[in-house]
Symmetry: C2
Subunit: 138 residues, 2 copies
Amino acid sequence: MDEATCSRLLEEHGIKPTANRILVAKALVSSMQPQSLAELERRIISIDKSNIFRALILFRDHHLVHAIEGSSDGTKYELCHSHDHEHDDDQHPHFYCESCQQTYCLNDAELPDIQLPQGFEAHSANLMIKGLCPHCKK
Amino acid sequence: MDEATCSRLLEEHGIKPTANRILVAKALVSSMQPQSLAELERRIISIDKSNIFRALILFRDHHLVHAIEGSSDGTKYELCHSHDHEHDDDQHPHFYCESCQQTYCLNDAELPDIQLPQGFEAHSANLMIKGLCPHCKK
DNA sequence: GTTCTTGCAAAATATTTGCAAGACG
DNA sequence: CGTCTTGCAAATATTTTGCAAGAAC
């Protein structure tokens, strides 16, 4: 995805497309897997980590990315796949490889509906499966 | 649960029951909810956090507790409910309250079987639902 | 006396904030 | 000018390790 497309993507989510933000968005778009802040830092050497962090927070607040927790090595960020800019309803399970620390999206699997006890109000859900990925299993 | 019972619990899991470990086990047994290291530190003022930490690692390796991640505020630990000392098969979903930071066990809900793509090998799974608990919702 | 356990300090890691300088409009 | 954005530094939080002294066997 080129810069113009990334820029448009940001604007669609109500985010002012600055040069830095476009770079962060580009890095996320071109990533096969959800990225941690540290991974993004390594990939985007021209931007300070505090600004990558602030861009991610901003993206998250505008439902452009969501944060994935539970991977034993920090929060990972991935682009929301849904095109609903208000809600983040494309939550799918993830797989964390304990050997190479990569997080894989299990897009094909459904995140099941869990029946909450009376009085609980759910906002989001994260299902993380851990183990070995095909590459590390060999 | 008294000290003797906790001591027996540790021994059943192949852990030498020292005074400190019994205290940590007692704190976990008497907790309604999974506890973070920081919470346990506050509750067990007589033991240094490094030793609480080492006790938790030891407990986890002996399948006496399991670690719950994905709660935005650190790893939480809870006693395994299963009586199988080799495997940790009582994995159930958890609920994290974004207001009071408590983690609740959803014992009644089933953790669904997710079909992994070819080549992936699962070791464990964590399903964390976030939102507001009944107390904070009011 | 050898091994295990403990407390304290500090390293390592991850996340977040303060602030002044600069860009933008 | 006033607001937003950026880089750098540093605060915070969390997890983990090193090591020497002491306890247990």
